[in-house]
Amino acid sequence: MSSLDSRFFGKKVKNPLVLASGVLGVTKASLETVCDNGCGIVTTKSLTPEARKGHDGPNIVETECGLLNAMGYPNPGIDEGLKEFAPWKRKDEALIVSIVGKDKAEFGMLAERIEAAGKVLGANAIEAVISCPHTPGYGMMAGQGTPECVCDITSAIKEKTKLPLIIKLSPSVPGEVKLAKSAEDAGADCINMGNSLGPGMKIDLNRKRPILGFGMGGLSGPAIKPIAIRCVYDIYKAIDIPIIGTGGITNGTDAIEMMMAGASYVGVGTAVYFRGPKVFGTIAAEIKDWMEKNGYSKPEKIVGAAHV
């Protein structure tokens, strides 16, 4: 019998699937629905120091085999956000609080708030996003894609919190192996290799205008999967901390492929659009099915199997 039981920084979780940040996750009730629908680890919407309304619409548009989105980090700000998600008491599912800051000082401040919320909040990890491709002042548009910057942000957060830290990188920033290594060297506990790819654009022929309100946006979904797989494969060779592989995972065999590339955990986001809100349980069942057919009892035996 195969089991998907996994461990996530000391917490037992029912499977290694991770709700990617930015998809659903505006409220605790929403995260709980995602858990009920079969996800083992869930991530909040990314929180910033102050409330953000996000970009004007359209915020999302379908492209060939994927979605382009430009949300612009809508969130109620760290204080309101932590109030919303506390207390996290789920037994079999872990909570990641996602944060995004303009610089290391902001990241440090956000981590301090989460640390202060402590047991009342009950978060299992912090994820720092340094890779958004389409929001001015953040991620790529703030030049956060250098090893020095990654190192500074990682250290600034680790100084303020004892919680495990995940650094979320982007396939859009070249040199992801170096970035992952510098995050590890600075004390990060996990790398989430995967954000939307881009920025990209879709133009409406009738209106002769880019459709997204922000003009450009990040590409997600099956279209970017091969790139996410390759990034995870390369990073796995260079670092020892676990990897969350995110990007285009839509079914069980996608997840297995991501694990073979080296991911201990598998991010799921845009699949909610293509297969509906119950996709987490469906993918988990598909992974289990594959494991049973192929004689695997535990997911960790698949992790990195593509490396000789």
């Binding site: 409220t27 629905t33 004007d56 915020n59 979605l67 700000g77 309101e80 297969r275 509906g276």
Partner: protein, 266 residues
């Protein structure tokens, strides 16, 4: 590979005509037949350079929306002239469910919540059902779609808070009398959420099936971004129509909304 339908294609068509329903609501008829649209569903209307907002569908052909002037997108839609282009994606969301066995239904609309209710009444009438409707507003000027409803309903009851039109009182008092005195297979409702909550509770008490159409701040419209969360469900994909029974289980129903940032509001 993908079980869910994907409906994000942006469509464009010309505005056929527009007219003011009252001091703040403008109806826009679009030269487009949205055959696949069902009552209760909505479209996301895109005004390039301004934004995109969800609008209840008031009719299939011509595709019709009635827009209350509440923000920059609805203001721009209200200013459109015949012949100008309008862009939209949809139909989106879960429609009202009308079972084949239904013979007689009660349709309730508060304020501009009457728009999807007219579409429902019209298509139910086309399918041979008998429809009774109750519509209400603060004052006479808030009553819209009255004539259209008369054309498809057996009876139309109108209420206003100040008695300037129809009976003085609330939709609720009229609806309570109707629900408890006459046999309806189902009660359908769209309007202020506290009113829908009261109706859902009243229907539950009288063991009559009920469906409500809720509204939340919406961004993606396809169940991905989570902005329109209502107690863990997405208003855009799981809703906007919920059975009264399901709606009463949602912690936020009749209580809390979220603004554009996701901040909880009352």
């Amino acid at each position: 590979m993908f079980e869910e339908g994907t409906r994000l294609g942006m469509k464009s068509a010309k505005v056929k005509r527009t007219f003011a329903e009252n001091y703040r609501v403008t109806t826009v008829e679009i030269d487009h037949a949205m055959e696949e649209a069902n009552p209760g569903q909505f479209i996301m209307v895109w005004m390039p350079g301004i934004g995109e907002k969800p609008m209840s569908i008031g009719n299939r052909y011509p595709l019709t929306i009635s827009v209350a002037n509440v923000g920059k997108v609805s203001e721009a839609i209200g200013k459109l002239k015949a012949g100008e282009m309008i862009s939209f994606r949809g139909p989106l969301g879960k429609p009202f469910a009308v079972e084949k066995s239904f013979r007689r239904i009660l349709v309730i609309g508060g304020g501009y919540g009457v728009v999807p209710m007219y579409f429902l009444a019209k298509s139910a009438r086309e399918n041979g059902l008998e429809i009774v409707s109750v519509i209400g507003g603060k004052t006479g000027k808030d009553i819209i779609y009255e004539k259209q409803l008369f054309a498809v309903c057996r009876e139309v009851y109108v209420t206003t808070d100040d008695g300037t039109r129809g009976k003085k009182g609330t939709v609720m008092s009229e609806a309570e009398t109707l629900i408890s005195s006459k046999g309806f297979d189902c009660v359908y409702c769209c309007g202020p959420e506290r009113m829908m909550q009261a109706i859902a509770l009243f229907c539950e008490m009288h063991s009559i099936p009920c469906q409500v159409s809720v509204e939340r701040y919406m961004k993606c419209g396809v169940g991905v971004c989570g902005s329109c969360d209502i107690g863990g469900k997405t208003c855009c994909k799981d809703g906007p129509v919920f059975s009264g029974e399901d709606a009463l289980k949602l912690a936020d129903f009749g209580k809390a909304h979220h603004d554009a940032s996701g901040k909880r509001t009352v």
